[in-house]
Amino acid sequence: MPYQLAWFIWTLPVFAFLAITLVLRPFFNHRPHWSAYATITAIGAAFVLSIWALITVLQSPDHLLAVPRIEWAVIDGFTIHLGLLVDSLTAIMLVVVTGVSLLVQIYSQGYMHGDPGYPRYFAWMALFTANMLGLVMADSLLFMYVFWEGVGLCSYLLIGFWFHKKSAADAAKKAFLVTRLGDFGFLAGILTLYFSQNTFDIEALRTAAAAGAIAGTTLTLAAIGIFAGAAGKSAQFPLHTWLPDAMEGPTPVSSLIHAATMVAAGVFLVARMFPVFAYSETALNVVAGIGAFTAIFAASMGLVANDIKRVMAYSTISQLGYMMLALGAGGLAAYASGGSLPIEEAISLGVAVGMFHLFNHAFFKCLLFLGCGSVNHATGTFDMRYMGGLRKYMPFTTLTFVIASLSLAGIWPLSGFWSKDEILVTSWNYIPVWFYVALVTVFMTAFYCFRAVFLTFSGEYRGGEPGAHVAAHSTPGHEQSHMPHESPRVMLVPMGVLAVLSIVSGWINLSGGFSSFLGHSAESEGGWLQTLFGVFTHPLPFISLATAAAGIFLAFAMYNRKWVSATAVGRAFSPIYKVLYNKYWMDELYQGILVKSFLLNGLFRGAQEMDADVVDGVANGIGNTVVGFGKGMRRMETGQLQGYAVAIAVGLVAIMLGLYFWT
């Protein structure tokens, strides 16, 4: 097939967007489902093309899909090329983005059913997917930045999708402002690189960095600038505050944009520009340090959240921190090994480890959010205190949610285990200090995600919370029944597919295939089956598994024992008399734990609130200062004609004097 076909990967969703906004919405508004079909068809076709691109890249010797460039504009010698850079990194991202997006769109048909903004929703989802695909395929930083802002805009629009809710509108604004702070850094980084090398071309910049043409402070500044952009988009400390609030958007949006793809764009960006980072130890330390700190910081906040989506949001931040840590640690390998590991090797190591976790995370985190959506669809709330016992009513959702949680917790042999293990190994080998942080995070992760599992699915149903968190969509056709029910099949099928992927996606690297595809040739330890079990020849996997298991067990003990007490009398840590106080007791105990957790984690919560104030304060402060100036300066316009004439006269004299003294 001609390589130009690659263009269609990102233009197809654009066509879907245009078709919806220009044709379907104005003229076929009575057939809202057509817009969903348009988006799904376009993304499905893009998915097929992505698979084709992946296969082609796999087969080509240099792992590159050579798409001829289009000369877009020549402005006095300054040529702007439009080109695609489809290498192994891009090919993986393409498959992940189109695949996850396709599943989420299918799911959304059920979730958004009956919403008045149905066509608008699918239009923006198509636009988002187009921008995201453009972002990963762009061959120049300039165009990448364009799409970068594009996904930011779509994210803003979709967070504020239910704009009549004040909290949603505020969250959208906050997301927009906070990520904008990071984007300034990104832009500064791009410009630094441009003025140093006079090109925006990514491949050229990577080569230049590797050849040492960019070096020293310039390199570090450019790398840190780019990382600032990545940190904004990937919600790294201290720019993470927008992501939990972003959960005000529809849940499929959170799933696709704020868990699986867009937030991973920051990690992708760092991976894409990794040669720029790898030659600056400072930059690598910043990446690894911020990543590790974010991982533990966000996980600790996840411990106390009551809103299931917020738990997942903190989890996402934490996992993204892991990916950053992986990148940084991989890059630092060259420095830590004292030169025995060449920097090129370290680059591919970091990228392979980080991207592998991104790849796995996309599936299981997306699934977790879809599970949240399914639960919300059934109960009308996101508050875990009002859930419970859903296992009985929604067995399929429960099953998939547990699979995804196990994967997230890093339980063998699910996908999360493999990539998390690689991150732990890499950090153990090269920056041990962050290894311990990561290990504590493993414990927290296992705890909070199973806390969510037990609170939501086990025990007795606590009745939902009418009115409070009810998603704005109303479902005509079937009334909100008193008891929760399983979601429609159109929602369950994508979840099933993702559940399978959450189990098996990690296995593709068993024989080092994923890593070597990204240029990192790990020493092969025989066939994949051998590796599947042979991993336990090292002690490290035992440590991480044991830590995760301890976390799960603690969650089980704290949140599930009521259920255990009710059925299995005599459990050691559950006094029998408390069973008699039936469910009211449960709530009180819950309160007690909440208070205790709150006290225990008061520090973290305080930290969260403080930086929410500070970071948002800076963003709003700059805006307010400008507007304040504006309000002051507009007073110069007195409306007095002669005042203006005086300004002209004074201006002339001033110009004259200025020229007089200047020359």
Partner: protein
Amino acid sequence: MNLWLLAPELSLFFTAVVVLLLGLASSRRGIVIGVSLLGVLVSFVFAAFLWSGTPQATFNGMLSVDQFAVFFKFIVLAALVLVILASADYDYKVEQVRAEYFTLILISAVGLMLLSSARELITIYVSLEMSSISLYVLAGFLRDRRSSEAGLKYLLLGSVASATLLYGMSFVYGLTGKTELGQIASAIQSLSLSGLLDNPALLLGLVLVAGGFGFKISSFPFQMWVPDVYEGAPTPITGYLSVASKAAGFAAVMRIFYDAFGAPSWLGQNWGLLFAGLSIATMTVGNIVATAQANIKRMMAYSSIAQAGYIMVGLAAVSMGQSVAPAARSALAFFLASYTLTNMGAFVAIIAFSNKTNSDLIVDYSGMGRRAPLLALGLTLCLVSLLGLPPTAGLIAKVYIFNAAVQQGLLWLVIVAVLNTVVSAYYYLRVVKLMWLGNPVSEEPVPSSAALRTALFLACAGILLLGIVPDLLVRLSETAGHSLL
């Protein structure tokens, strides 16, 4: 003396006379608008013929017909088409005097077209006044409190500026004995000055001329009339003022300051520095005050001041290097072309909204995305282009002009301009956000006439076309930039 070289202006003037007489004979709106558009088309065809000719001076060097001038004629004609279409639905407010209204617009366009090719002081002054006086009347055309106030302010301040300009011109004439720009240039060079202070009278003359044109292009500190006049004038005229009159002003500045007064390179660098300084002040004042506006016409006025600041970046770039840079001229031409489409498009949408709501307050745009999706989409596109985001012409224009400036070593200026662009996002996107996310004041849809829709469609199509395939216009503007006689 070849009259064909003047054919675009002559045909347009003839159209104006015909429209005036038609207005005496009949009062059908369609005829007047149709004849006007036909005249514009004829003029456009003549201009297109001139484009392929070789650059030459005519009327004893009073006018130069080069691609640069023709490019600006195209810009004026494009603005003219849009303003005529935009007025078609607006003129319920100017019922009785329809023909005069269009006549005045056409005459002012003739003046602006002449101004863009004038290269002689008398011609410059007369064509400037020809357009200005028509615009004074148009600004006060509605004869209500606001419009008449706008007319008075524009007239009195404009006259002060043109008197200043004239006084400056008299000094230039006195020192050089010539009124033709080329001869002035050689006369100044033969004075063999080593600095501006060697001849303070020249300094005085040049600064007064700069002030007169600074008024026209709304540069700081001569920009204060802009918000009041833009707010009060009939909205199509506001749009027209903000694009056509500004474009021709820039063309004239380009000719005067870099043809006549740019000759020893230190003099050119002085202008470059002056325009760079004024550019910073202009865009900063425009952007910052725009953030605090509640009336959209007033906001667009400050926005147009800020845009003038960006254009002046190109002006500064023209002569900052050792030699005059044609690239900066091309960039300026491209920017003005894109700005013309964009700003006129925005004003067309504003007219369509205010026809229904009878209000220009920004808060009344709340929820317009639901009441009039296509209009809101058009306005969004225009605002996005003004801000300079893809995939619009505004982005290309900014890249073009900033690139030219960077190549002339004006990186600091470009950084200030980019920071300003960031500030401008606040007020442009505020409107966009309000339109799409705000709650509608009422659920009543906003209808718009076919003429307004056509105008908006033309503008938006142009914006997108230039944004996606800019090569078309880049080639033209490069030819224009290199052709200056």
